[in-house]
Amino acid sequence: MRLQKATAFALYAVLELAANPARQLTVVEIADKYGISAHHLAKVLRDLGRAGLVEAVRGVGGGYRFAGNAKRLTLMDVIRLFEEIGAETDAAAPLVVGQDIAAGLRFVLAELDAQTVATLRSISLSTMLKLIGRRPWAVMPSQPPARRSARQQR
């Protein structure tokens, strides 16, 4: 799946700030680190501030700092401030007679959406920061052996 730009920027900013809640960072510092538009990020941070996830620190050396509970806030809590996940494929949508193919496709796509939503709801910012620290993408994922079709004896 692909996230909209504003959503990705929000996740960068929230996770960057949540990694060290005592630290405050300016819009430019975050934007420079991720190579993204400071203008766009400023708007995203204002939205995050209105939602209570970050707070603006005024004065010299001002910026933003994390204001939420990293163990309670999930990736989904951040994402849904900017976009709706799974809204386009609703398996519960009324079935139109004669559109069984469309209904079947909606059913399969809704399966994927349900998996996505469950995953995003299960990962807190704290868990995400731990995952980033472990860098699991640097390790080859385990692969199921190919062409096994039946349970074997233990």
Binding site: T74, S122, I123, Q143, R154
Partner: protein, 156 residues
């Protein structure tokens, strides 16, 4: 019958292998969390994975002042659909009053240690997609999606 005492958060909690005497406490805790009373199921689990270890696995309990505060059960599964032997956790419960204090993590670490001792290098589980609490718990332990997919169909 489970003792009708309250959890004292200050009471130290120890983790050890389950005994037959723990089963009433396990059954009561499971019933308190799930709303379902399953004495035969838990006695069968104890027969398989408890002290007698009829099959390779672990049945561990967290106990404080004689009261069961949590438990975890797992086994070593081998060669299902070509999967090399791995640890499989199929039950974990922590009393509500004891949650968010690291007890679930201690149980998880202990069962993983038993899997390592059994010679496997991977642990898996399966859970309800809408059970956000247990899903978040396993994620917080470092578990991520694996290379297998769970499927089902109605038989009626």
């Amino acid at each position: 019958m489970a003792k009708a005492q309250r959890s004292d958060p200050a009471e130290p909690v120890g983790i050890r292998g389950a005994t037959a005497a723990d089963m009433p406490g396990v059954i009561a805790l499971d019933e308190a969390v799930t709303g379902l009373r399953k004495p035969e199921y838990w006695r069968e689990m104890f027969e398989r994975y408890g002290a007698a270890r009829r099959e390779p696995g672990s049945f561990l309990v967290a106990e404080a002042a004689g009261r069961i505060e949590g438990f975890i059960v797992g086994e070593v599964r081998a060669w299902e659909f070509g999967s090399p032997p791995c640890g499989w956790i199929f039950a974990v419960q922590v009393r509500a009053a004891r949650r968010v204090q690291g007890l679930g993590s201690r149980l998880f670490d202990a069962v993983c240690e038993s899997f390592r001792a059994a010679g496997v290098d991977r642990v898996r589980t399966m859970l309800a997609r809408d059970d956000t609490v247990i899903h978040a718990f396993f994620r917080s332990q470092g578990m991520t999606a694996g290379p297998f997919i769970q499927l089902e169909m109605r038989l009626d």
